[in-house]
């Protein structure tokens, strides 16, 4: 069959088929890339659109009358801090609203009217009086945050179309809002508070900073433990450990450890760090230690691969010049492997940043309204915050969930960018 064809002829015959195969493969590859890319774009667009409302906050201008009677302060007397904390500023805020809508009489309607502004308004007004004691007995225009229901209603065209049974804002509330709008008492501003505060039950007061700081402390603990330990372990296993059954066993275990479900590390952390050593629950210290355990195998494996990739000729060159084994390792192998080691470390850290399950086990899932200030303060982290908000019934938390996802993605992009930069900076060729 082949015998009566010259090699050129038989090659030509196969050529068309080969080209077809090649084209098919290329088309398949392209399709896969585009599919992945499209999904990514859709996902990102969806998250971004959903997140947008979280970046804006509606403000309402009230004419607040610092009524000495309601507050129980005597004009002209200095106000004690103690009294300030117990005074009825909520009443002051409500009354200024009622004054604007004298036609509202019924108790139920009054409650609805008061619900237009955020419950944080009373604290804002209190702080104002603390700063300006002379305002007692005066009427001052004050911008306060609107309630999250107002925000949600004003930012959603679809909500505005439906009957009041299907939304949280009643028709009379909408009417009051429109009236306020007409008087120029409604403003939309950028929601800085989202980046400046910690979690809250009220969506309009909830922010991401607490979780960001918590993540920061946690990752600091993680990297401080995992990088030196991982590097030391990798250097020992790769360069010093004698070839024995024990070392093989350790190697196999490290590789297996990388595949252990992360929640198991959380259980381990709960049992060892909290129950046995008595470390404080919910703290970045414990969370960081758990994540360090989880990241360690990743770093060890990446570091060993990077050190293996250092050409033997470089090792021979160093040894041939009279460098000792340790000098060779630390003057040549480790520095040359550094880009790979750093890349592995950052990838491990990025993994740790996005990890939720093990942290749930050590109590980092708690609802925490304070920004943590140390490694032992109770804290939460970004992915847990996302989980908590995603679980909340208020509609405004949907936007905050998406916004938090964007923040988390932003940090991940930053970290990967850092990995690329470091790799470029340390890159050497041989």
């Amino acid at each position: 069959m082949v015998s009566n064809m010259t090699p050129t002829e038989s090659v030509k015959k196969g050529l068309a088929r080969r080209y077809r195969k090649e084209r098919r493969f290329r088309a398949l590859g392209l399709l896969a890339v585009w599919l992945g890319f499209t999904f990514l774009v859709i996902l990102l667009a969806d998250i971004t659109i959903k997140a947008l409302p979280a970046f804006h906050q509606t403000w309402i201008k009230l004419d607040v009358y610092f009524d000495p009677e309601v507050l129980g302060f005597e004009p002209g007397r200095p106000i004690r801090e103690e009294a300030l904390l117990h005074a009825d500023f909520r009443g002051v805020v409500r009354r200024s609203l009622y004054a604007m809508f004298p036609q509202v009489r019924k108790h139920r309607d009054k409650r609805k009217l008061g619900a237009l502004v955020s419950s944080a308004a009373q604290y804002q007004v209190r702080d104002l009086l603390r700063a300006h004691p002379d305002w007692l007995g005066k009427t001052v225009p004050v911008w306060v945050r609107a309630d999250d229901d107002v925000d949600t209603y004003l930012q959603s065209a679809s909500l505005q179309g439906v009957a009041q049974d299907h939304r949280r804002l009643r028709d009379n509330q909408v009417a009051w809002l429109r009236e306020l709008e007409k008087q120029g008492r409604i403003e939309r501003r950028f929601n800085w508070l989202f980046f400046r505060s910690a979690d809250s039950r009220e969506p309009e007061q909830a922010g991401i900073l607490g979780a960001v700081v918590g993540s920061f402390y946690t990752l600091l603990v993680t990297i401080a433990l995992a990088f030196p330990l991982g590097l030391a372990g990798a250097v020992y296993l790769e360069e010093y450990a004698p070839r024995s059954r024990w070392v093989d066993l350790i190697e196999i275990n490290i590789n297996n450890l990388a595949a252990v479900p992360s929640i198991v590390f959380g259980l381990l952390g709960l049992a060892v760090f909290i129950n046995f050593f008595g470390a404080s629950r919910s703290s970045p210290l414990v969370g960081g230690m758990v994540l360090a355990l989880m990241t360690l195998p990743t770093i060890v494996i990446a570091a060993r691969a990077a050190m293996k990739a250092v050409p033997p000729s470089i090792r021979e060159a160093a040894l041939g010049l009279g460098a000792s084994h340790t000098q060779m390792v630390f003057q040549h192998v480790v520095p040359l492997a550094m880009p790979g080691i750093l890349t592995g470390t950052i990838i491990g850290m990025a993994q740790a940043l996005g990890e939720t399950a093990p942290l749930l086990m050590v109590g980092m899932v708690a609802f925490i309204v304070d920004i943590p200030h140390s490694f032992t303060d109770s804290a939460t982290v970004l992915p847990v915050q996302i989980y908590l908000w995603a679980d909340s019934p208020e509609r405004a938390f949907v936007a905050r969930t998406s916004a938090a996802i964007l923040v988390l993605l932003g940090f991940l992009v930053l970290m990967n960018g850092a990995a690329i930069l470091l790799r470029k900076r340390f890159e050497r060729k041989w």
């Binding site: 000729s313 021979e316 060159a317 160093a318 040894l319 041939g320 010049l321 009279g322 040359l336 041989w430």
Partner: protein, 302 residues
């Protein structure tokens, strides 16, 4: 170019590598190896010993795991001489060379037996630190392997390691002289702080030689230092070896018989891990006594 031509000429006159007679000789000795094989002893033909030995090996066996790579080799390295190690590939030239500065130590499954001495001192006792030994017995490898550092740092690495320079200017001096002796100074003196890996192959190999001699070793081992180089770079390195001989003792592995003939005073021929024949280079190439040597030199084993 002129110097290279001269070099080729002198080599050609020094040794008569049989080229024209190759064919006729082939017919003559074709049956010889098989006829003589049973009678052939393990004794090395020629004289492996010299009067003033810088290094000496006695009854050296090397094993890679179960497999023996070197069989009972005894050989001296005379002071200020260039000894060429030749033989078909896989015959154990590199393995033997690496015994001389204990580079085989770093191969876990490699085991060396026998007696190896430097200036009469056993190099395989506990007392001889391999690090110190390698500072005294330097090595140049087959593939140029500069560190991914600057040219300066490459050469300065050894002196820094062993504390050979008291200050920066002394170090500068060592770097400059080493590069000069390696014949690289003129080409790199203006870019000492550029990467050594950016040089051409021949320049890289000379950089590696400069790096080796910067430590002032007593012996230099070269494992096919020119095998990856073009003829011009090879000629430069060969000239360099001739010059280095004034101060150093050199053992060079080469697969080019012309090169062995040009640069060495003595030649050792290895075959399947055994040292078959040793002698003055002129004598070995013009009048090989062992049929295996003759076959190799005339190009029948390669």
């Amino acid at each position: 170019m002129v110097t290279i031509m001269k070099h080729e000429e002198s080599a050609a006159t020094k040794v008569r590598v049989p080229l024209d007679e190759e064919e006729s000789q082939a017919v003559e000795t074709l049956a010889a190896p098989s006829a003589e094989a049973p009678a052939q002893s393990d004794e090395t033909v020629g004289d492996p010993f010299v009067e003033r030995a810088k290094m000496s090996a006695r009854h050296v066996d090397v094993f890679y795991g179960e497999k023996q790579a070197i069989f009972d080799v005894s050989l001296d390295l005379g002071e200020h001489e260039v000894l060429a190690l030749i033989g078909p590939s896989g015959c154990g030239k590199s393995t033997f060379l690496r015994c001389l500065n204990r580079m085989n130590d770093i191969i876990p499954e490699c085991r060396v037996e026998g007696d190896l001495r430097l200036d009469g001192e056993d190099i395989r006792t506990r007392g001889m630190d391999p690090v110190l030994l390698r500072a005294r017995v330097g090595m140049v490898f087959q593939k140029p392997n500069p560190f991914p550092k600057s040219i300066y740092d490459n050469v300065a690495y050894g002196p820094r390691l062993h504390g050979l320079a008291a200050n920066r200017s002394e170090l500068d001096e060592i770097v400059a002289t080493s590069l000069k002796r390696a014949g690289l100074w003129g080409e790199v003196k203006d870019r000492l702080h550029e990467a050594g890996t950016g040089l051409s192959g021949g320049q890289q190999q000379r950089l590696c030689i400069a790096r080796t001699i910067a430590v002032s070793p007593e012996v230099i081992l070269m494992d096919e230092p020119a095998s990856a180089l073009d003829p011009i770079a090879t000629a430069v390195i060969e000239e360099l070896i001739e010059e280095l001989r004034q101060n150093y003792t050199i053992a060079i592995v080469t697969h080019s018989m012309q090169q062995a003939a040009r640069v060495s005073q003595r030649t050792a021929y290895f075959h399947l891990g055994k040292l078959i024949e040793v002698g003055e280079t002129d004598r070995v190439f013009t009048n090989p006594r062992h049929p295996l040597t003759e076959n190799y030199i005339t190009g029948r084993i390669g």
